[in-house]
Amino acid sequence: MAEQEAPTRAEGLLEQIADTALDDDYYVVRAGDYAQSREFNTPLTAFVLAVFALLVVMAAVQTRNDRPATERERSTLISDVAARKKAQANREATAERLRKEVADLSASVDRFDPAYQNVRIETGDIAASGQGITVVASPSNKGNLDGSITDDDLQILVNGLWYAGAEAVAINGERIGTTTGIHFANGAINVNFKDIAPPYSVVALGPSDTLLQRFEDNPAGHYWAARQKNAAVQFGVTPSSDLSVPAVPKKRMTIRHATAIKGEE
């Protein structure tokens, strides 16, 4: 002890702590009542130890009680995340199912409603095929003035075909729709605002066996028979069991001003 207390001795703080780890009081021999009290087995010691044990247990119990709270919070969050992920998956599945349903329904509307399909064929909204006749009309090759084919000729021809029972007509690949016009402009006949040139090949879908007969019997047929006879225009008809006509161009199918009247649908 005397050595340690020498003022010249430089010592590290931590070393000093280690050296004097035991309270100095234990080394002091006291006079008085407690001079000989080296007894461990006393109520005082027991009391201090009891307090020590109580402190430790208190802290341990407190820590243990706090843990479930944080644990519960954590598990709640985890289950919350899982529940929301599940809900999201459910909703995605529902959205996917509804999307599929919409696609199915629109496909079924397109494919399986015969009335709608018929209307589309009648208006020229879609290409059509079936039996029918092909009429090929060419101008006279004799150079006579009235031997060329005019828009009137074609209009009469198409009207005659409708009258004879044609269900879909196309001239040189241009389908005749509800708003299609056949007229003469800029030195050529145009249909659906597209110039067409002779020979004019008119495809008419309809009963191939009666179509020609009914055409020849109606005024349009008589007119064309006269044209052949008087102006030498060429006119040939070929029946066929497999003909097809394209759809009317989308531009000619656009409705901008007319709307359906309520209650008439």
Partner: protein
């Protein structure tokens, strides 16, 4: 024998009564326990060296706990609570290890 009974009573009381530490004192409890542990280990060493004195034990126990808690409190007031706690734990830890080493030397002579 009596001290062992005291220890047992403390443990049982803690488990049965489940006293809760007031929220204000909670930060000081761990440091107080380290300080108390230092006093207990010191007492064990003194016991081995036949220097044990119950009065010194009581005084060192109480003063250790109070001073350690007070230092942490002071540190909290000064804004260096965690640093001061670390300092207290280091010093008490060194003392605990030194005393434990002395006990070990006495028992195992190594």
């Amino acid at each position: 024998m009596i001290p062992v009974i005291g220890l047992a009573i403390g443990i049982v009381a803690g488990l049965v009564l489940k006293p809760t530490v007031p929220t204000d004192l909670q930060p000081y409890l761990p440091i107080a326990i380290v300080a108390a542990l230092d006093a207990v280990i010191g007492a064990l060493r003194a016991l081995g060296e036949r220097r044990f004195n119950d009065r010194v034990f009581v005084v060192s126990f109480i003063s250790n706990v109070v001073i350690a808690a007070f230092m942490v409190y002071l540190g909290d007031q000064l804004g260096v609570g965690s640093q001061l706690s670390t300092g207290v734990v280091v010093v008490l830890g060194i003392r605990i290890f030194a005393n434990a080493a002395a006990i070990r030397r006495r028992i195992f002579h190594a």
